[in-house]
Symmetry: C2
Subunit: 490 residues, 2 copies
């Protein structure tokens, strides 16, 4: 266990970060720093993965892949910093024909200030010290203070040292990346007057407590939290009839990937009753039975998983074709439950099945008709993803495909067709967020637009060119995409 | 006094709005509706201004101008809807060279749902029923329920009827624009499960209460509130020496405009001690003395103004070259206070001078040196605007101009040079917002980007073209600006 930071130490970390924010002011330096961070992480790969595996048991293959993703992400943000579209440059020359007349106005976005990042347990790299929140905040020009996750404190220290080494290569002081340990330190951090915004990936309970603290401050701050998601999947009757095996096998792969410890694990599957659905369940049964046991991230999670599964399995009418459970002293084995979808259409004890259960389990709700599907969907909380499995005819635009997409869109930030939600690409078109409790804001924590979370716009009015930042001068020497007197320039 | 809405009536208004959201789905219809709203408001101008003047005493000239601004704003949002850049379309074709590989991903923004709009007292058109919050929400595709301001209930009803008439011209049901009266109704509104976001313009106290209620909901929602702003002005020694009369007169005009009832009224002016500053104060004295009395929006405001001024004037060392006060039974006369800036550099009784006082009064703090200026600025809360008056030499880039701009930028959402903050243009480059308590979010309530408040992104993964919304298909038949495989297309 790492030494928990005192209030004084949290204060020192935040003040150190605040003090060095000017060192990130130059975009060229920022981009170079992000690339060096990726280089240094790759150079340290062997020791990082070893320490990470010792703390998380996620295995060197998965951890190596996650580190590669993390480095790709850092470089992707460097490219975003270089391009500069995220600055949102808008220039209006004076216009007396407007009502009221428009003076010379020039707008772009500036960094918010120190960002607090709360690490996740399940991604010791990609959603932790060097992850998307940190990368996007640094890209925006914001120093970061990370609250380490207690499941991988040594790795957190090691990574922080690597990032500071990268910073030093560009004369950026070590304060740019603070690191604190401990539950109380996390509370102190969100309350600190110099913390300007926060990013969080974790549980609904922990995230909501921090969200509430952020909102209750004398000066409230943006809190971008990713809290929890059920990730519903709808399988149409036609899809089940067309490829029951492929869907059963694909679902098994997605729900057991990473021992079911992904925030986008499909946790509720609406599959038709009848023969085609039976065939799907049979394939799922076989594929899940063939999937080995795995180690969960910590004992608390293992306890919660076993208790959560047991509580769900006890509900009358719930069956367990493959019983998830204790696979050994440290491991758990995957499984799934089935339930008639009709049980989920009204408030009651079965609402438990509409809550996320972290770990390798999913619930297959067998529906009788479209009304039941619609009724269950209408009762779901917000999600990161919603998926539909369609037949090839439906995918071609015949039947209810478009209608189902329209029903799923209000539920989630990412809607998938004939795919599985696990695997979150780092891309400009990515949205990893969704209605509460999926996220506490409308923002994404993955993909290019994640940078928007750490910026605020400022307009300069009637400001002489020599006093304007280079980004806002007519000449556009930095070559930024911008809106110039209404016209989009690229 | 209008009849206050019961909880049942609030519920009915929200449900009616929610039920008709699909009627705003078509962008062409939305844009046409906004233009018709402007047309109908103009057609009803005479009666609207008459009713508005009877309720607010703002006078037909100001009210006619405000209505023109409101119509301009509605049409500006129609143009924004037509262009469609606000949809933020991003398309990524599959890319196996990325880590992890990128699937087909297509992202744009969808309306959040029903928006609650809390009207302001001081702009019965531009920040009330047909104002920027309503216009931007409708432009985003969100139905609106307005909580009317108690200072102009009859006008609110009249305008709502005009907007519904415009809606009817495009077969949009009346529910698209709900209207409720009463303090309790406002609380019910923010708590309603089907309300998805809120916009507010008003006091720190009222706005914070609603912000807290929005954050405390089982499902928290975005609350975009504009609460209060001191709007500091720094006059450099060189500027005071160069044009003391122009600055004194300009300041008098800005602080007394609209009887000082603008959210961007300059409320604190840092002017140098010594002869040049004395000359500035002399000009200010003359100009303010020449400015007539005016009627404040309601008696509560008049009482608060008189009490606020008296409390400030009592502080030792505070002088009143022109004493603001009761100009008559219903009116108030403008004035200003002076204080040595040194009194404002430490926490204490003088902090009152750093709080907004709504009405025609400002505080001129006379400084001895730059350290005092910096020290006072460092103690200010967030602002909508911050202004600097520079000499022509400083404006040309010589001296401390850039440095002062850098000091003002963290304080405000709009920074002005040799101009006055009153008058908020409706423009793409506008930012009317700022650090708390100026606003409760990083958004703007004026200008094109105000539409961003009412949208959330959704990504579609692996979705066949026939099922995609037209906005996300490769062909781009709607002709939208977008990011296509990394390239910005315009």
């Amino acid at each position: 266990m790492a030494v928990e930071a005192t209030a004084h130490e949290v204060d020192a970390a935040v003040r150190a970060a605040h003090a060095v924010r000017e060192s990130l002011a130059d975009r060229t330096v920022r981009a170079a720093f992000l690339r060096s961070a990726a280089d240094e992480l790759e150079a340290a790969k062997e020791s990082l993965v070893e320490v990470a595996d010792a703390e998380t048991a996620l295995g060197p293959v998965r951890l190596g892949g996650e580190l590669a993703r993390t480095c790709y992400q850092l470089r992707a943000f460097a490219a975003i910093v270089d391009e500069g579209e995220f600055l949102g440059v808008v220039i209006n020359h004076p216009d007396d024909t407007a009502t009221p007349p428009i003076p010379d106005l020039r707008r772009y976005k500036v960094p918010l200030g120190v960002v607090a990042v709360y690490s996740a347990s399940n991604f010791p790299f990609a959603f932790s010290v060097p992850g998307g929140d940190t990368a996007s905040a640094l890209a925006a020009g914001c120093p970061v203070v990370v609250k380490a996750h207690p499941d991988h404190p040594a790795l957190s220290e090691l990574v922080a040292a690597v990032l500071r080494r990268a910073a030093a290569r560009h004369d950026i002081p070590a304060g740019v990346l603070g690191l604190v340990h401990g539950f109380e330190a996390g509370i102190e951090l969100i309350k600190h007057p110099l913390v300007a915004a926060a990013g969080f990936t974790g549980s609904v309970r922990g995230g909501r407590a921090l969200f509430d603290a952020a909102a209750a401050r004398p000066v409230p701050i943006p809190f971008h939290g990713e809290l929890g998601s059920l990730n519903p999947v709808v399988v149409t009757e036609a899809a089940a009839a067309e490829r029951p095996e492929a869907i059963g096998t694909g679902l098994a792969g997605s729900m057991t990937l990473g021992v079911g410890q992904f925030c986008v694990k499909p946790g509720l599957v609406l599959a038709p009753s009848g023969a085609a659905g039976d065939q799907l369940v049979k394939s799922l049964t076989e594929a899940v039975s063939d999937t080995g046991s795995g180690v969960l991230l910590d004992h608390r999670m293992r306890d919660n998983f076993l208790a959560g599964v047991a509580e769900r399995a006890e509900l009358p009418g719930v069956e367990s074709p493959v019983t998830p459970g204790a696979g050994g002293e440290h491991t758990v084995s995957p499984g799934f439950l089935t339930v008639p979808a009709g049980r989920l259409t009204e408030e009651g004890a079965y609402d438990l099945l509409l809550e996320e259960c972290f770990g390798p389990v999913t619930v297959v709700a067998r529906y009788e008709d479209q009304d039941e599907v619609r009724s269950v969907l209408s009762r779901l909380p917000g999600n990161l993803t919603a998926t539909v499995q369609l037949s090839s005819d439906e995918a071609a635009g015949n039947g209810r495909g478009a209608e189902i997409l329209a029903e799923l869109t209000p539920l989630a930030g990412r809607v998938l067709v004939n795919a599985w939600p696990t695997g979150v690409a780092v891309a400009a078109a990515q949205h990893h967020g969704g209605p509460y409790p999926a996220t506490t804001s409308t923002s994404t924590s993955v993909g290019g637009t994640a940078i928007e979370r750490w910026l605020r716009p400022v307009s300069y009015q009637n400001t002489p060119e020599p006093l304007l930042p280079a980004e806002l001068r007519d000449a556009n020497e930095p070559g930024l995409p911008r809106r110039f007197n209404g016209r989009l320039e690229r």
